[in-house]
Amino acid sequence: MRKKLLFVTRGGEDFDNGFSYVAELARTLKADVAMLMVYNKRVIDAYEDIMTATVFAEAGEFTTAKDIMDEKENALKAAAENKLRELSVTYDIASDIDYHIRISNVPSALNDFLKITPNINMILISPSLSKNKKEIDLNKLIKKISKPIVTISQPAQAGA
């Protein structure tokens, strides 16, 4: 069984920042990569979408209400898939990166993910998350997680 590295990143425009490091490390360690993209709940819960879904739900159209709520999530997933396909080619790693999308806060998403995916050997936190102490408090994280955690940061002079 090959080792598996988990890249945890905030979903969005620059979710791939730091991925080049993970891809390189995976190649060096002959490991596979899984990606956990965590979207902030408020990105999904656009006020208008909720109101529209509520109207349909009140009218008994539960399927339509659910479709409206799922629509944004599906759109995010489709966009992420496209981007991942590009990344696979750019970094010359297996085209089927094992990716997962969660709509939650990062610590909860990570904890829940590790409960159902125990075969992760190392967790790598993206630069944008590593520098954001509000989103990830490592001191709290290590109390719940027993896997090695690697924070990735980008020195200012290094560039992208």
């Binding site: 069984m1 490091y21 490390l25 060096t28 490592l138 896997k147 090695p148 990735i152 940061s153 290094a158």
Partner: protein, 443 residues
């Protein structure tokens, strides 16, 4: 390496002669006086060689040979025949006997034959060991400069004459496999096989079959009988990497091997006696696993007779340069390239990098650099660009150190820096000699 011999002979005087000569030579010998008992005995214990008289009451030697070869094809058989009965000897050789001896026999001649078989058996075991030892090289030197790794070597040297089981802990890639090998090859069992098995790469069923072997027809696909690594490692050492990944039922079976020194093949009904030293390793905090009930406490205590922790490379940066140079020499030779050094800038880059993948990552980085490099030394251009672009910091929640431990480590480092002068060290640390003594004696 010694081999285990079973003698099946009804003539008491012949048995006495053989026992005396073989035991004097250091062989472990058991005897029975008929074929039926011999067959029973080979089912109970693992023997490497059977010496059987052709004429015995009940089951004769040739029938015994037939049955043994059918059940235990790896076991060698020498047939004792009467003087002049060449036809019987030829029959025996045709049926799979490795050799024959005629009565009255010359003990020197027998010993010569048995020693030859012992050498062949040893080569077979070594061959098997090489095939299954995860590619670890016997001649792998240990490159150590840091105080922490020197301590590890000291511990290994201190157990050189002991035969205790060892538990190796440390992050992935720190070199636990190499340390296991060093323990084996510096110990009492160095002439016997060293086998290695990664418990994380097999399903429970396959792992059981790899460890304990299986009888023919034990499960779908078991078309032939197979010896397990525990059986093959008899007299030697078995390195079980990622032991924490072993299922509870296999943990129970392994515990039985450690306690009783015997086991049964999968689908087998007869216990097989073995003498194996176990070296186990894990990158997890096994104490937590034990307290959570995920790893058997009794097995933990059986394996953890000696606990050796191998620190990550980021905690022993002094080893980065000598290790890099060692890997360069090895990889340049392998790639047939004339690269003789590592530039200062490259060494600086390596020294400031976090190495989450530890020594294994360092070796792979150097291997890649050797392939890419076109000059006579490793330059930054042949190192991964990502280690320049990103900084990484690793935390292993399993290895969070207490402040006391950090103080002790630091105090020891300072003491080493001032060549063991405690007054000087205390002065540099801004504490009294008594406080320094207290910190250093903290266990």
């Amino acid at each position: 390496m010694s081999i285990r011999i079973l003698i099946a002979e009804d003539e008491e005087i012949t048995v006495k002669h053989l026992l005396y000569a073989l035991e004097a030579e250091g062989y472990s010998v058991t005897s029975v006086n008929n074929g039926t008992d011999a067959l029973k005995k080979v089912g109970q214990e693992a023997f490497d060689l059977l010496i059987a008289d052709i004429k015995m009451p009940g089951m004769d030697g040739l029938t015994l040979l037939n049955q043994v070869k059918d059940l235990y094809p790896a076991m060698e058989v020498i047939i004792i025949t009467g003087f002049g009965s060449i036809k019987s000897a030829v029959d025996a050789m045709r049926k799979g006997a490795v050799d024959y001896i005629t009565k009255p026999f010359n003990l020197d001649e027998i010993l010569l034959k048995i020693n030859k078989i012992r050498d062949i058996k040893r080569l077979e075991k070594e061959n098997m060991a090489l095939k299954t030892s995860l590619g670890l090289g016997k001649d792998m030197p240990i490159v150590v400069k840091s105080r922490m790794m020197k301590k590890v070597i000291e511990i290994i040297n201190s157990i050189m004459n002991s035969d205790c089981n060892v538990l190796l802990t440390g992050e992935s890639g720190v070199g636990k496999g190499m340390v296991a090998k060093l323990i084996h090859y510096s110990g009492l069992r160095k002439e016997s096989p060293f086998l290695a098995l990664n418990c994380a790469i097999f399903t429970e069923e396959l792992l059981a079959s790899e460890l304990f072997g299986h009888e023919k027809g034990a499960f779908t696909g078991a078309v032939t009988k197979k010896q397990g690594l525990i059986e093959i490692a008899h007299n030697g050492s078995l390195f079980l990497d990622e032991i924490a990944e072993m299922s509870p039922s296999l943990q129970a079976k392994l515990l039985k091997v450690l306690e009783d020194r015997e086991f049964m093949r999968v689908g087998g009904i007869k216990p097989i006696k073995v003498d194996v030293r176990f070296i186990a390793a894990t990158n997890q905090n096994i104490n937590v696993l034990v307290s959570d009930g995920r790893f058997r406490e009794d097995l933990y205590y059986r394996l953890n007779v000696m606990d050796i922790y191998i620190p990550p490379i980021r905690e022993r940066r002094e080893d980065i340069v000598p290790l890099s140079r060692h890997f360069l020499e090895k990889q340049a030779k392998k790639a047939n390239k004339n690269i003789r050094g590592i530039s200062k800038e490259s060494l600086k880059m390596l020294m400031s990098y976090g190495f989450p993948g530890n020594v294994r990552e360092l070796e792979n980085i150097i291997e890649r650099a050797v392939i890419l490099e076109n000059t006579s030394q490793i330059t930054p251009a042949s190192l991964p660009q990502t280690i320049k672009l990103f900084q990484v910091e690793s935390i292993d929640p399993n290895r969070i150190k207490k402040l006391d431990e950090i103080s002790k480590d630091y105090a020891e480092k300072v003491l080493e820096y001032v060549d063991g002068n405690k007054s000087k060290a205390a002065e540099m640390l801004g504490i009294s000699r008594t406080s320094l003594w207290r910190i250093l004696s903290n266990k």
